[in-house]
């Protein structure tokens, strides 16, 4: 009995101390992490939409999108964040789309924990490039062979689930967006 109490108390104390230490470190760093994410988003927009001179944040329900204006003040497109379940966890990306919500300008992966060497390759240029000037009408589709239509991309060999996830997340978000505009 004495042994059991000792085991329980040691485990409890160790976990408590570690928990406090972690919450302390996290509260110190959370602000910086958030500003890093914000910077990653604005960098991604600058990268995908170099024509955007002015960016205006808009709230659509709970989610955020960005209106992109060119030099002369004309609305030229939208940027939006789309996130959803990938193979191993959340995939979060930023996409830029034209004003009619018909053609994608491109995507950037902000956050993902897909399998390195396989699913993580969705971050690589060769995959993301396929989304440049990709038609989203009626919706984006994927194939394991050579893409035939202007709304089709080629899934990564060995990482079909991750590729499919990117496509589905985008389709879902674009559909949501179209109800707002």
């Amino acid at each position: 009995m004495k042994e059991v109490i000792k085991i329980i108390s040691v485990l409890t104390i160790v976990c408590l101390v570690c928990g406090f230490l972690l919450s302390f470190v996290y509260s110190g760093a959370s602000e910086k992490i958030e500003s890093n994410t914000k910077k990653a988003i604005s960098d991604a927009i600058a990268n995908l939409a170099p024509f955007a001179e002015n960016i205006e944040e808009i709230k659509l329900g709970e989610k955020i999108a960005y209106k992109l204006f060119d030099k002369t003040g004309n609305l030229t497109g939208y940027a939006f964040i789309a996130e959803g379940q990938g193979y191993q966890g959340k995939i979060k990306m930023l996409a830029v789309i034209d004003i009619n919500l018909e053609i994608l300008e491109g995507i950037e992966i902000i956050e993902s924990i897909e399998t390195p060497g396989l699913g993580a390759r969705i971050q690589e240029e060769f995959f993301r490039k396929q989304f440049q000037s990709l038609s989203v009408l009626p919706q984006i589709t994927y194939t394991k062979d050579i893409p035939e239509n202007s709304n089709q991309i080629k899934a990564i060999t060995g990482a079909t689930v991750s590729s499919k996830a990117v496509v589905n997340i985008l389709n879902k978000r674009i559909k949501e967006l179209s109800t707002h505009f």
């Binding site: 042994e3 000792k6 085991i7 040691v10 485990l11 160790v14 976990c15 570690c18 230490l21 972690l22 470190v25 996290y26 760093a29 910086k32 992490i33 890093n36 910077k39 990653a40 191993q88 924990i113 390195p116 060497g117 993580a120």
Partner: protein, 192 residues
């Protein structure tokens, strides 16, 4: 002193004990990734060994592994948060491998085999030696793969223009090839 030096060569964690193969093979696609991973491991190993060695007398034998794991996980999470806050680029490149230091067998192995049995000072020397040994191992591996696969080292071009990139060196197969050759080389040197 012996406790420190053995990790650098005689009982090298990567080339001799073959511990921590998952991060060794997976993150060494470039020299910088190798160094970052090595530094993260040194930090976690150092503090985990310190704490484990300090509390070795009060931890009941039956739950020691659970306690070590909680301690290691705490330090790993601190490293993860630190990288995310200060080096988002590296944090992205290393991806899930930082959290996976929790199950890096070098750390649990050293805590169990050494820190839980030896004095604090000895444990710290052991942790530093093993950590530095791991770091030079993954740095060397990462450098070789980066030079052959991309023609650069730490991002600087060193191979002449027109060098045909051996892409396989960046892929997982390259990690196995280079690791095998390095272990063979080390065995050869030891034999002499």
């Amino acid at each position: 002193m012996k406790d420190f030096l053995k990790g650098l060569w005689g009982q090298h964690p990567v080339f001799r004990q073959l511990l921590g193969m998952c991060p060794t093979l997976a993150v060494t696609t470039s020299a910088l990734n190798g160094i970052s991973m090595g530094l993260a491991v040194i930090f976690v190993l150092f503090f985990s060994s310190l704490v484990v060695s300090l509390i070795k007398k009060i931890v009941p034998n039956q739950v020691r592994i659970a306690v070590y794991t909680v301690i290691i996980a705490t330090f790993v999470t601190i490293v993860d948060i630190f990288f995310k806050a200060n080096f988002p680029q590296i944090s992205r490149a290393l991806g899930p491998y930082i959290p996976l230091i929790v199950v890096n067998c070098i750390i649990l192995g050293r805590c169990e085999a050494f820190a839980s049995r030896c004095s604090v000072a000895k444990s710290l020397l052991d942790a530093l030696g093993m950590g530095l040994g791991f770091t030079w191992g993954v740095f060397l591996l990462g450098s070789i793969r980066e030079v052959l696969g991309m023609g650069t080292i730490l991002g600087f071009q060193i191979m002449p223009q027109g060098y045909n990139h051996l892409i396989i060196m960046i892929l997982p197969a390259g990690a196995f090839i280079v690791l095998g050759l390095l272990i063979a080389l080390m065995n050869r040197i030891e034999e002499r």
